[in-house]
């Protein structure tokens, strides 16, 4: 058998991958520092101190450099294997992480001006890359069913949509945290808080044409008068503990690797405590909710296209559009949940926290569809496993 891939290029690509990972890690720390030096005013506008801005600029530069190195790693991988470099889970995780960083930089930082939240996006990317590392395989050719130009269309679309959903998830999760804090502060200060409608009040206008300014002044003041109060109403114990326990259990059950599990769980705990610390620095819940909605609305048509393209490819390769193969089922499930999220956002009694929980569930479904179905469920898409 002929040489299947260029081993040297493959290992160079992997070195670059690791370099990018380190760059992201340092950049993430930088972004979290930037966040700590950023004060968010009542109207959602944020001001960074000079130190914060400098650190932020360095973090952005580092994230960009990391992304460039990462891109080089992916291109080299493609050259080494002589095909699209996202045909197995390691490669897909790598490309997904890069796209998430890029979406974060372009959409979150540039377009929406919420650059100080990039630390969370980088954290998600780093986790994705770490999982990719555990699934590392040498570059090699793919099974016959993947040898089609449809891999460029279907898989790329799925990947782009996933990376956008990743940013959406960060916004949704932060919204839930911030909203909880805002509610509790309002409840403690004894002011009448508008309940579920408030979190979304300034956003709902989009759907029903109501005026924006429905927040009543007292609650407003109560929420922003003391940002530190928002930290006090949330438990500094539960915030690191819950992610720690969840990740520990997950990795132990799935990979049975206690060291990796402890490491991953510690990172999760760190992100948890950072989230707790970040609460006063987050933009108002309503803003986060809008960010989440817009990113989902951005990713959803792309995901829809990915599913449709998948159906067309399936018809071409296997002779049927849809066979309820686990992967197909999973992507349909994800689609339904994101569709549900978008609908819930336009329905009274659902928008706000309820819709956000659907968004969280949809992202979990996306991850299950990607990881669990590939790794644990036997189906036609199993070839893509690892």
């Amino acid at each position: 058998m002929a040489e299947f891939y260029d081993a040297q290029l493959g290992s160079l690509s992997h070195t670059l991958f690791n370099t990018a990972l380190v760059a992201y890690l340092v950049s993430m720390v930088g972004y979290f520092f930037r966040m700590a030096y950023t004060r968010v005013a009542a109207d959602g506008s944020s001001v960074s101190t000079t130190v914060g801005r400098r650190i932020g600029q360095a973090a952005t530069a580092l994230a960009l450099a990391g992304a460039a190195v990462h891109l080089a790693s992916i291109v080299l991988r493609g050259v080494a294997a002589d095909r699209v470099p996202w045909a197995n889970m390691y490669e897909y995780s790598s490309a997904l992480a890069l796209l998430a960083v890029l979406v974060g930089l372009v959409v979150l930082q540039r377009r929406l001006g919420l650059g100080h939240l990039m630390g969370f996006v980088l954290a998600l990317s780093i986790v994705t890359m770490a999982i990719g590392l555990m699934l590392y395989t040498d570059p090699g050719p793919v099974v016959p069913s993947l040898q089609s130009y449809w891999i460029q269309i279907h898989v790329t679309a799925a990947m782009v949509a996933s990376s956008i959903f990743m940013v959406a998830f960060a916004a949704t999760a932060l919204y839930l945290v911030k909203d909880t804090a805002e509610r509790r502060v309002a409840a403690r200060s004894g002011s009448v808080y508008g309940g579920s409608t408030v979190g979304a009040a300034s956003v709902t206008s989009e759907a029903d044409g109501q005026p924006d300014d429905r927040l009543d002044g007292d609650a407003d003041e109560a929420r922003y008068a003391s940002p530190l109060a928002q930290r006090q109403v949330l438990s500094p114990v539960l915030f690191p503990l819950v992610p720690f326990a969840v990740v520990l259990a997950f990795v132990l059950v799935v990979w049975r690797a206690p060291v990796a599990a402890l490491l991953a769980a510690s990172v999760a705990a760190l992100v948890g405590i950072l989230t707790w610390y970040a609460v006063p620095h987050l933009p108002p819940a309503a803003t986060l909710d809008t960010v989440a909605y817009r990113t989902v609305a951005f990713g959803f048509p792309i995901w829809t296209f990915a599913v449709i393209a998948g159906a067309i490819w399936a018809e071409e390769a296997w002779g049927r559009f849809w066979g309820w193969d686990p992967k197909e089922t999973g992507s349909f499930f994800t689609w339904v949940l994101y569709a549900g999220y978008l609908h819930a956002r336009a329905t009274h009694g659902w928008r706000g926290r309820r819709a956000a929980w659907i968004g969280v569930l949809a992202f979990v479904a996306l991850m299950v569809t990607y990881y669990a179905v590939n790794l644990f469920v036997v189906g036609l898409h199993s070839y893509a496993g690892v």
Binding site: M1, F4, G140, P141, V143, P144, S145, Q147, S148, W150, S205, E206, A207, D208, G209, D212, A297, F300, P301, T304, F305, I308, A311, I312, E315, E316, A317, W318, G319, R320, F321, G323, W324, D325, P326, T329, G330, F332, F333, V336, L337, A339, G340, L342, H343, A344, A346, T347, H348, G349, W350, A365, V373, V377, V378, G379
Partner: protein, 547 residues
């Protein structure tokens, strides 16, 4: 499904309004009305969507009979899975065939009923609102997006310039003469963004197209599977398929009757033993005439007469002979299936008459002996070695399927033989001669007729074409009013967005700049004292509802 805001349902007709409410039994009509109202609610639709989602979770983690029937069988038998009792419970709820179950169908039907209930009134309202001329504006100065210009042009010329700007920005416009407006000034009413609701309606309606496509595909479609050995031919008739799933409206006479001959089968291997590429070279024949020769492989099908032939599986097919004296008992390419990573196995039905004779075959593709043990060096058949057991007795071979199984209990293994390619051997003290003349390959095809492809494709296109504007387009109204002044005119430009106000703010700013350029006048905020409508003016009369 709708962006309609839910209200608490109004009390049904005939029910007293306020006052003490007594428990009341609803009549059949009231019940139906109540159900219909409930079904049309967005939250009902959401719950139904979640029902669909829940069903797909179940189907991901419980093996589905139409997808992997063998696994389902072993769950039922308790070999795999949580045990036969649980499997029986699953069967009762048809959890092994979620997508064919009554409850899944119920959810789908309810979802479509709910969709219809939402869409019909929305389509009606949409058509009405598209037909309606842009609505007149009132009290423009009070709107949050409003600017004023002092132009040297007269009102008519100024409005014409604004109209041109709006035309270029693709607004639907309507000129309102001065005597028809509330302020008494001439006005242009403009509107844009019906694509939002229109897109949403197209997106949701596309699911009916999808449904029709699925129904057509399932009713008139056909899927069959057939395994063919090299040199052999299969014909497109119902009986030649090993497995056939015709739609209820795909009759026996709907088959095309053409033949496909497998001329050659090629497979390359990766070092890890998985196939790199496999290609069937086939010739299409009609009435014995050779029409064309093509290569069929994964991702490259053969299309003929509305039927598609897909490459699915493949395997080894040794040409075996079994003879007794001068009588040839068996001569065929036996299709073997992969037993494990290293071996292929199958059973040749040598004699179905009493006593039944079967040859149980095991093939090692790349045979070698290492430390006295038989090993397989690789997946490619460069040193095929065949191990055969001869069984005689009541083996149950008369049963049509499955061909590779036989009843070991009913008979006994009388002899065994080991053969290389091209070898023959005598067994049972020379009574029977077994030959392995040649190793050929077999190829497994799926043959399908898939009508409704264009309908399904159209539904996909409509879903996307509707989805994108429904998420990004937004409705907005813009008005311009011009009042004569000594220098020329004072123009007020005002706008309101019904959705995506933030996006409209940007658009409005750009529009205001364009208008400033067109009028050659600077824009300035509307000053409070400058209201176009004097207190106690026309406002009191003819209060036209804006809706």
């Amino acid at each position: 499904m709708t962006e309609t805001i839910e209200r608490d349902s109004a009390p049904p007709a005939g029910q007293p309004g306020p006052g003490p409410r007594l428990p009341q039994i609803l009549g059949p009509i009231e019940t139906a009305q109540w159900l219909w109202r409930r079904l049309r609610r967005m939250s009902t639709a959401l719950w139904l969507l979640f029902g669909l989602a829940a069903a797909s979770v179940v189907a991901t983690f419980i093996p589905q009979e139409p997808v992997i029937p063998t696994t389902v069988e072993s769950w039922r038998a308790g070999i795999e899975g949580p045990g036969p009792e649980v499997a029986a419970a699953f069967d009762a709820l048809s959890l092994f065939d979620v997508y064919g179950s009554w409850w899944f169908m119920t959810v789908v039907v309810l979802l479509f009923v709910s969709l219809t209930g939402c869409l019909l009134p929305r389509w009606r309202a949409f058509v009405r609102s598209v037909r309606r001329q842009p609505v007149k504006g009132r009290r423009l100065d009070e709107l949050s997006n409003a600017v004023a210009y002092h132009s040297t042009r007269d009102p008519e010329a100024a409005l014409a310039a604004v109209d041109e700007v709006l035309r270029r920005r693709r607004f639907r416009r309507r000129a309102v003469s001065a005597d028809a407006t509330e302020s008494g000034d001439a006005q242009i009413a403009a509107e844009r963004g019906h694509a939002r609701e229109g897109g949403s309606l197209v997106f949701h309606s596309a699911f009916y197209v999808l449904l029709v496509g699925i129904l057509v595909a399932q009713s008139f479609g056909f899927i069959g599977q057939v395994n063919v050995a090299e040199g052999q031919t299969f014909t497109d008739t119902r009986i030649s398929y090993d497995l056939a799933e015709p739609g209820p409206l795909f009759g026996l006479d709907a088959h095309r009757g053409f033949s496909v001959r497998l001329d050659d089968f090629d497979v390359g291997w990766f070092p890890d033993g998985t196939p790199e590429r496999f290609v069937s070279t086939v010739t299409v024949l009609e009435d014995g005439q050779e029409l064309r020769t093509e290569e069929v492989e994964v991702n490259h099908r053969l299309e003929h007469a509305g039927m598609n032939v897909y490459q699915m599986r493949f395997g080894m097919a040794p040409l075996l002979t079994v003879s007794s004296g001068d009588t040839m008992l068996y001569e065929d390419q036996l299709t073997l299936s992969q037993a494990d990573a290293d071996t292929w196995s199958g059973v040749a039905k040598v004699s179905v008459a009493d006593p039944q004779i079967a040859l149980e075959v095991l093939l090692v593709p790349s045979f070698a002996v290492e430390d006295g043990e038989v090993i397989n060096r690789g997946p490619a058949p460069d040193e095929p070695r065949l191990f055969a057991n001869l069984w005689v007795g009541d083996l149950g071979l008369e049963r049509p399927v499955p061909s590779s199984e036989f009843d070991r209990e009913g008979g006994e293994r009388v002899d065994a033989v080991e053969l290389g390619e091209g070898e023959t051997a005598e067994i049972l003290d020379g009574a029977i001669e077994v030959g392995f003349s040649e190793l050929t390959m077999w190829s497994g095809f799926q043959v399908g007729h898939q009508p409704g492809r264009s309908i399904l494709l159209a539904s996909g296109v409509l879903v996307l074409a509707g989805l994108i504007p429904s998420l990004y387009a937004y409705r907005r109204r813009v008005w311009a009013e011009a009042r004569p002044t000594p220098e020329g005119s004072r123009v007020v430009l005002a706008g309101v967005a019904l959705h995506r106000k933030d996006a409209f703010d940007d658009e409005y700013a750009a529009l205001a700049d364009d208008v400033a350029q067109a009028l050659g006048a600077e824009q300035r905020p509307v000053e409070p004292g400058e209201a176009t409508v004097e207190p106690g003016d026309v406002r009191s009369e003819a209060e036209e509802p804006t809706r």
